[in-house]
């Protein structure tokens, strides 16, 4: 593997973890009681870890995770969109958002 690709791989993984942590922090502060919304970041984080672990293992030269690699990626491929989908209610349940604003947003949705 070329050094450039390896560098890119490392950068992508760092970004992936950064994104996972950021999502976690931001959504934790959202204080939204909706279970689905609270589960969303967990699922996304889990999917990102499932994606990242086999890659890390490969980068480090480990073969321990090779057997589970396909399973992990397949699970991650399912969990990532599910996690994102779970976050959809978050948009209409932010604190301080009045009904009128929600309606306004609904109208905006409709216009779009």
């Amino acid at each position: 593997m070329s050094p450039f690709v390896e560098l890119m791989q490392a950068a992508a993984l760092i970004m992936l973890l950064f994104a996972a942590v950021l999502m976690g922090v931001v959504l934790r502060n959202a204080e939204n009681r909706d279970l689905k919304v609270r589960l969303g970041p967990v699922v996304i984080g889990l999917s990102l870890i499932l994606f990242a672990v086999p890659i890390y293992a490969a980068v480090l030269g480990s073969v321990t995770f090779d057997r589970y690699s396909s399973l992990a990626r397949g699970a991650a491929a399912i969990l990532l969109p599910v996690g994102l989908y779970l976050l959809v209610p978050l948009r209409s349940a932010m604190p301080g958002r009045s009904d009128a604003q929600t309606h306004e947003e609904a109208r905006e949705h409709h216009d779009d």
Binding site: M1, V5, M8, Q9, A11, A12, L13, M15, L16, F18, A19, A20, L22, M23, V25, V26, L27, N29, A30, I44, L48, F51, P54, I55, A58, D66, S69, S70, L71, R73, G74, A77, I78, L80, P81, L84, Y85, L87, V88, L90, R91, M94, P95, G96, R97, S98, Q101, E105, E108, H109, D112
Partner: protein, 521 residues
Amino acid sequence: MTDLGTAEHVLIALMGTSLILLSHILGRRGVFRFPTAVTLAFSGVLALVWQAPTLVDIPENLQLPFEVSELLFFAAISIALTLYALEVFVDQARSLARASETLARQAAELARAGAVRQMAAIVQSSNDAIFGRDVDKRVLNWNPAAEALFGYTEEEMVGTTSDMLVPDDLIEESHEINAAALEGRPTQNLETIRRKKDGTLVDVSLTVSAIRDGTGNVIGTSVIARDITEQKRVDELRRLALLDELTGLNNRRGFMLLAEHQATLVKREQKDMALLFIDLNNLKTINDSFGHKEGDRAIADTAAVLRQTFRESDILARVGGDEFCVLLSGDKRLDVDTPLGRLNTNVELHNAQGTRPYRLSLSVGRAMYDPSEPVGIEDLMRQADMLMYQAKHAKQNRPRVLVGDDDVAIRSDAEKLFADNYEIITAQNGEEVIRRATLERPDLILLDFSLPDLIGTDVARRLRQAPSTNPIPIIMMSANGDGSNELEALRSGADDYIKKPIDSDAVRVRMDNLMRRVIRR
């Protein structure tokens, strides 16, 4: 890279498709919505690109290297998630700001409601009657003080017109006040009268102003009514304590208060001040002859003459039964002679009206206040009083001559010619001559032969018949030169006879001789 199974490839491809679909759902609004949606959709496309060579046949030259497409997918999904997180963060911050704004607004509304409640509590607990009316004067609200003042309960008043509180003769005034308030001209502290429920009247101080709505339109009037009965009573007591009831002038206490204050001002500003002590002559005689009611009238007349004579700024007072004080102040070299001359003229004008059976006569003493050597008002009064008595005695020691003539020129000539040595009293008809001779007992009478009501000889006879006027020497004056009048005059009791036009020196000698003879007798 790890070899992937078919299921894994399919799942990742499906994930890519899902991401493209989710990009539409998630990235709806916010600052980062468009970049998020694009990046998410792009990550979906990359996921498909990543898995495409394993699922479909793609020419070698169109394939992206496996590692590159995998990495691009991870980079894209990382960026998409980061952007999404940022969007959530920004949205959250904005929502928090909105929430804080809403809270601030609610707090302000609560504070406003609190202020309104507080104001309502103040109105409710006020000692002043406060009520609001619409433009038709129908009462909208009514506080407990209004209930206490007027006797009507809130239930009785709300919805009814407030005109029932206004006495019939003041309805017009009430309409005018209301109209002015509706036009934006408030009425402040107007002292007037209102009617209670039991029909009794109460003195109130009214303040009426417009009530406006949020847009500034007048929607009614507010009325604040204060019961001033007690205040009026106190004012009246104070007035009685400082004013003389008969004349309306200051009494001694009021005069002292004002004069002391004036003296302080004069001293500070180095101005001149004069105190006149004025005594109404013969008050005892008036009381004895015509009764005390007429004596009171004489005092009131004197007060009226003083008011007419002196300026508003001068302090006038009745300090005793027939004693008055006037405090004049002004610039340096205060002119006192002019007002004294005016006083004499006004007294004469009053006497000329002939509305009273006696003539007003005043004795005046004046004392000047020297700001460089200030003395107390009491001292000044004592000084003026002493001078007044001197003047009075000088006047009393002069022989008094009653001039009875219907010709005003003769009367005024006599006053001019003889005023230096004699006190001249005048009368314009026979009856007046008799009345004044009886009342004032002059030392000599200069009597015209022909008077409008009685001829001089009849007057002389009647004077001789009355014991009180019998000793008074009479000199008859006539323009007739044939001698018949002279004889008739002497027969009627006249002591001497002179012809007009009179020679003042000759008359003076004759008068002195006659009076000396009477005194000797």
